[in-house]
């Protein structure tokens, strides 16, 4: 036993290394190997640990072997999805030897799900997370204003999307003031800028409606609208938000959170405002309805006047009254026909004529506090001298009739 060692040591060129020396030697060889400096490894995630430092530790394994792996914070932060134990992944990294333990490990710089795309997975994960929080609930959706005075466009100030939206908004409803909050709509800076713009719009209440979006592109181009910051900023917005990302088939997380999802930016502009042509048509209809209603109302009044003029109160043999009734009839006819004629032509003078017409109503006279006086025979009394103290007098008021007795004759008061 000890012989063997002795023999080995006695061989020229043999040397005794310390553990550290040997470890460093192995490390040197491994790390000098160009293949190990950047290698793809497929395996299943296990022993996953998200450390508070931001580093991610895990073991990659297949049926026969395991490989320790670590992803440091800068790379881990860029992972669009969340790892879970059991997930099949393809990792990229370099193989190193971890000093103290003398174990080799894979230092990963990127990782993607094996089988499905990383972005797809991230999308599904965020969708599930926000959905579980209730951010997509219908009850959270705010109603869009019917006539928005100010609309904020959170989008790129260049490009087709903003032009399309301005064109359609201007054509349909030029009353709305448009405020553009320029943001980048793709790249690493985009989600932060979009979220900030949403927050800004809310803080300063710069509009009654927000359209947030961009034109079409690849899924990577649209990715900012699948960012959690953007989703949360939309959810937090007190101003209603229309999402307008890409083309019809493109669906982003922003679409789920927004109050209304538009298929395209152009579609968003259509959903945002009423159509001027329809409004003008409505106004023409409203005008016609007003005139028709006024005409009907007027016919009703004239009908009532005729009934009143023919009523028993005015059906007296008393000449003066008869004359007045005739005069009233005559005036009524004249005024009515005048009113009708003018209505067709000129509304303002029509209105004044009709006011006079109403003033002629006998009931209107009674309503002002006048009364008809009749004697015991039912004759209209127009002269105090025809009565004696103690005579009965019937007074017809606007509401009801009084049976009264004359106390004193005071003579002519004209």
């Amino acid at each position: 036993m000890s012989d063997t060692v002795t023999i080995a040591l006695s061989e020229p060129g043999n040397q005794v290394y310390s553990v550290t020396e040997l470890t460093l030697h192995i490390k040197g060889i491994l790390e000098a190997d160009p293949m190990l400096a950047g290698v793809y490894v497929a395996g299943e995630v296990s022993n996953l640990r998200y450390h508070s430092s931001g580093h991610v530790y895990l073991t990659l394994k297949d049926t026969d072997s395991v490989l320790r792996a670590v992803m440091f914070k800068p790379s881990a932060m860029k992972l669009p999805f969340k790892l879970i134990d059991g997930m099949k992944v393809i990792a990229h990294g370099r193989v190193t030897v971890f000093g103290g333990a003398g174990q080799h490990q894979l230092v990963m710089d990127s990782l993607q799900p094996d089988g499905i795309g990383a972005l797809f997975l991230a999308f599904e994960q965020l969708k599930k997370k926000l959905g579980d929080e209730g951010l997509f609930a219908v009850s959270r959706k705010k109603k869009l204003p019917v006539f928005p005075r100010r609309i904020a466009l959170i989008t790129s100030p260049t490009g087709a999307a903003v032009r399309d939206m301005l064109r359609i908004l201007g054509h349909r409803y030029p009353l709305a003031r448009i405020r553009i909050l320029p943001v980048r709509v793709q790249g690493d800076e985009a989600p932060g800028e979009i979220a900030d713009a949403l927050t800004f719009a809310n803080r300063y209440r710069i509009a009654e409606l927000i359209i947030c979006g961009r034109g079409g592109g690849s899924i990577e181009d649209l990715w900012a609208f699948n960012d959690e910051r953007v989703a949360r900023a939309i959810a937090a917005s007190r101003i209603p938000v229309i999402s307008a990302v890409g083309h019809e088939p493109d669906v982003t997380i922003a679409d789920f959170v927004a109050d209304v999802r538009a298929a395209t930016p152009s579609n968003a502009a259509e959903l945002a405002v009423p159509d001027r042509t329809e409004l003008l048509a409505y106004l023409r209809t409203a005008d016609a309805r007003l005139i028709r209603a006024m005409n009907t109302r007027l016919s009703k009044t004239s009908e009532r006047l005729r009934v009143l003029a023919a009523s028993r109160v005015l059906q007296s043999p008393e000449n003066t009254l008869q004359d007045r009734r005739l005069a009233l009839d005559h005036k009524t006819d004249r005024l009515l026909s005048a009113a009708q004629r003018i209505l067709a032509k000129k509304r303002e003078s029509y209105l004044r004529s009709v006011s006079k017409l109403e003033a002629l109503s006998p009931m209107k006279v009674l309503a002002r506090g006048y009364a008809f006086a009749r004697d015991a025979q039912g004759e209209i009394v127009t002269n105090a001298d025809t009565l004696q103290p103690g005579d009965l007098l019937k007074l017809t008021l606007y509401h009801g009739t009084l049976l009264s007795r004359v106390e004193e004759i005071q003579g002519d008061n004209r």
């Binding site: 204003p145 019917v146 006539f147 005075r149 100030p157 260049t158 490009g159 903003v162 032009r163 301005l166 064109r167 908004l169 201007g170 054509h171 030029p174 009353l175 709305a176 003031r177 448009i178 405020r179 553009i180 909050l181 320029p182 800004f200 710069i206 001027r276 409004l279 003008l280 106004l283 409203a286 005008d287 309805r289 007003l290 209603a293 006024m294 009907t296 109302r297 009703k300 009044t301 509304r347 303002e348 209105l351 009709v354 006011s355 109403e358």
Partner: protein, 83 residues
């Protein structure tokens, strides 16, 4: 024009209200006349507002010092095609 614009929504709501009262036909004549006049005026104002409105577009640019400045938006890239 700006006051009209601010009240366009209220004007439209008031107009619809007036038309409905008028069509019920139970308002006293004097009130009907006043409503008719008001309604007709609203129709005119709203129509004018829609026909005369020019789209206004501004852009809120963040300055280097962090201030946000609102400027008229237009020019080569984004000139609105206002009819």
């Amino acid at each position: 024009m700006s006051t009209q614009e601010q009240t366009f929504e209220q004007a439209m709501a008031r107009l619809e209200e007036i038309v409905q009262i008028m069509e019920r036909g139970d308002a006293p004549l004097e009130q009907s006349l006043a409503l008719f006049e008001e309604g007709t005026k609203l129709v005119r104002l709203c129509t004018q507002a829609l026909e005369n409105a020019q789209q206004r577009v501004t852009i809120l640019q963040k300055q280097d010092d962090g201030r946000v400045v609102e400027q008229k938006f237009g020019g080569s890239d984004g000139t609105p095609d206002t009819p």
